[in-house]
């Protein structure tokens, strides 16, 4: 399917926003104003955007501890996200959640999730609601290679197949489960995680996670199938994490030059720019303009976050319950 000029520009803008957001956090974190642990998504942008460009606000995604990219791709407010990561009252979650728990239910973003393997059962449950509602909504569990060794994920995949639910399991294989590679931690099919999903009885395939078009096309077909009662699917999208597991990770487990190689040959933004300009779908200056606008947006997001107040101490016991 040929994407329109607007769709291409939007996809690029989304990917660029994620990259700029994460690269800026990488610069800001050492300055000491961002509390807690932060896990960056740079290098994986084509997956979040390629998947989410097939979804509407009424569709749902679940995410991971490395969730900033998923949030942006699903339409969360970028300034609200930045303020949340700084722990400010103006954050999307009022400073209660932070980097690992950003959510916006109005956008179908059911939460970044600090528990590896936490998301897939939730997405499968959202799919039960969607099946019962009968409006063709779809849930997508965005999960990592680490989660593919987690029992609840297996349970969710089996239940999705036996109940024929509109849910898609996306395994982003970024080369490392925290600090340990799937090549070590996966028993069978070490280089082919997706065979596990296939074993549960759903269509499952593996694609280049640094190629937006490949992710988009593969997901589009699965989303259409799920919308029309065709049940679950699974994907493995391969890529390489540009940063460590968390910011501050010394990454002694990676050979020298690995990240440089990835930035050189596995950069989804470079790939996208090359593809669309070669095919004369967009011009370099169109993309340069997006780059400038995104840079400005992130600049403002950081400045506004730093200027925003922290939540009042009295918020500590608010919203534990709706009523108690």
């Amino acid at each position: 399917m040929q994407l329109s000029r607007e769709q291409l520009l939007k996809a690029y803008r989304q990917m660029k926003t994620i990259r700029e957001f994460e690269d800026r956090l990488h610069e800001e974190i050492p300055k000491g104003l961002i509390p807690g642990f932060t896990h960056l998504y740079s290098g994986q942008e084509a997956i979040a955007v390629g998947v989410c460009e097939n979804l509407n606000d009424s569709d749902a995604i679940t995410s991971t501890h490395r969730g900033h990219g998923h949030c942006i791709a699903k339409g969360c407010d970028v300034k609200g996200m930045m303020a949340e990561i700084y722990g400010r009252a103006t954050g999307l979650c009022g400073g209660k959640g932070g980097s690992m728990h950003i959510a916006d239910l109005s956008k179908g973003m059911l939460g970044a999730n600090g528990i590896v393997g936490g998301g897939p059962p939730l997405a499968m449950g959202a799919a039960i609601a969607f099946r019962n509602r009968g409006k063709g909504e779809v849930a997508v569990a965005l999960a990592g290679d680490g989660s593919c060794n987690s029992g609840p994920v297996f349970e969710a995949m089996n239940m999705a197949v036996m109940l024929n639910l509109p849910v898609i399991f996306v395994f982003e294989n970024n080369g490392y489960s925290e600090q340990t590679a799937p090549a070590y931690a996966v028993g069978a099919g070490k280089t082919d995680l997706v065979r596990r999903a296939e074993g549960f009885g759903m269509p499952a395939s593996k694609h280049d996670g640094t190629d937006f078009f490949s992710v988009y096309e593969a997901t589009r077909e699965a989303v259409e199938r799920a919308r029309t009662g065709g049940g679950p699917s699974a994907f493995e999208f391969n890529c390489l994490r540009f940063f460590g597991h968390f910011e501050g990770d010394p990454q002694k487990y990676r050979i020298k030059g690995e990240v440089e190689m990835a930035r050189d040959t596995m950069d989804c933004l470079k790939n996208f720019r090359h593809r669309v300009t070669e095919a004369k779908l967009l011009e370099g200056k169109d993309l340069d303009q997006v780059d400038a606008e995104v840079k400005q947006l992130i600049e403002e997001a950081v400045a506004e976050a730093i200027a925003a107040p922290f939540p009042p101490d009295t918020d500590v016991t608010k919203n534990v319950y709706i009523n108690y």
Binding site: G94, I128, N132
Partner: protein, 337 residues
């Protein structure tokens, strides 16, 4: 009022809400049972404790869902479905199996609203059968409601009477916060008066089941029945009269009804089926020691199970559990102090 069993009263509440609100669904292992079996039977046993008579025939495959034995998926699915607009009631057959799905309770459902800055609701009920007394041994008998009561974001109901299970279940299913609902497996056959119709009971409101002047006995779940029997006996044989208070929910906890009673009697005995450390008994005792110290005329007594796994042999299980004799001893010790 009609006399009904605890089981019938629970079923009545589930049916009222299933009939009234199509967002309510029920999921769990063998809730209907028989799926895929050679006999082609559904509504096989109406749930392992017979609480869902003909629910599969009545509510259909989409609202009454037999699941695989996958506790994490069941509870995770309930939390996800709740975020997406359903009001799931899920069954974890035995409370002991919560070990398999504690993450979905403790890290997911309990925390969404807080982590997301108040912008979500997770209206789900996790029903589970707990408790010793049937020689079900160490992995099918535990009273783990204190563990769950400890979790901020979760409400916990532990009813003792048929009327209470009906009223509290109605409230649980209408509550927008996640609720874990503990039914003692030895109570399903217990009979009592149950009001007709739609009779929700608010959370955080305890009930006084006996009235007296000499001591306050606070009891949880099945221990309410144990305590009533002892208190009736002491009134008859020794002229010692006690309040028997059932908090009915451990989170929120009705502190006022307990403190008001202790203010009147000056003595507190707490009877709890869970082991003593970090128990509801310990929690209530600490609360009264902090807020009602001046009311007390005697040390607080706790009657709990042993700090041990639940044993299998019937005599050992009796030795493990609170008993009439242990409760009587505690009351007498308090009154004689």
């Amino acid at each position: 009022m009609a006399i009904k069993t605890y089981r019938e009263a629970l079923t009545e509440a589930l049916m009222i809400e299933m009939d009234r609100d199509e967002r309510v669904i029920i999921m769990g292992e063998d809730v209907a049972g028989g799926a895929g079996g050679s006999a082609g039977v559904r509504d096989n046993q109406n749930g392992i404790f017979g609480t869902y008579p003909q629910f599969h025939a009545r509510y259909g495959e989409n609202r009454f869902i037999d699941t695989p034995i996958s506790e994490a998926a069941i509870v995770g699915a309930a939390a996800g479905a709740a975020l997406a607009g359903l009001r799931p009631v899920v069954e974890i057959m035995f409370a002991d199996f919560i070990g398999y799905c504690l993450d979905q309770i403790m890290n997911q459902a309990a925390k969404f609203r807080y982590m997301f800055g108040g912008k979500s609701r997770t209206p789900m009920v996790l029903r589970t059968a707990y408790g010793a007394g049937l020689s079900a041994a160490a992995q099918h008998s535990q009273a783990i409601y204190p563990m769950i009561t400890h979790i901020p974001g979760i409400k916990v109901a532990v009813p003792s009477k048929p009327a209470d299970v009906k009223g509290l279940m109605l409230t649980a299913m209408r509550d927008d916060d996640p609720v874990v609902f503990f039914d003692h497996k030895a109570l399903f056959g217990v009979q009592g008066e149950v009001p007709e119709g739609d009779t929700p009971i608010p959370f955080g409101k305890g009930m006084r089941y006996r009235e007296g002047k000499d001591a306050t006995v606070v009891a949880i779940g099945r221990m309410v029945h144990f305590s009533e029997a002892v208190v009736d006996k002491l009134a008859k044989e020794a002229g010692i009269t006690c309040d028997v208070i059932d908090p009915r929910t451990t989170s929120p906890l009705d502190e006022d009804i307990i403190l008001a009673s202790v203010q009147k009697t000056g003595r507190l005995i707490v009877v709890d089926e869970s082991p003593p450390r970090c128990s509801v008994a310990g929690d209530i005792s600490a609360m009264v020691a902090m807020k009602g110290f001046d009311f007390l005329d005697a040390p607080i007594q706790m009657v709990t199970s042993a700090h041990s796994p639940v044993p299998f042999a019937p005599n050992l299980e009796r030795a493990y559990l609170p008993s009439g004799a242990k409760i009587e001893e505690a009351i007498r010790k308090s009154v004689d102090y």
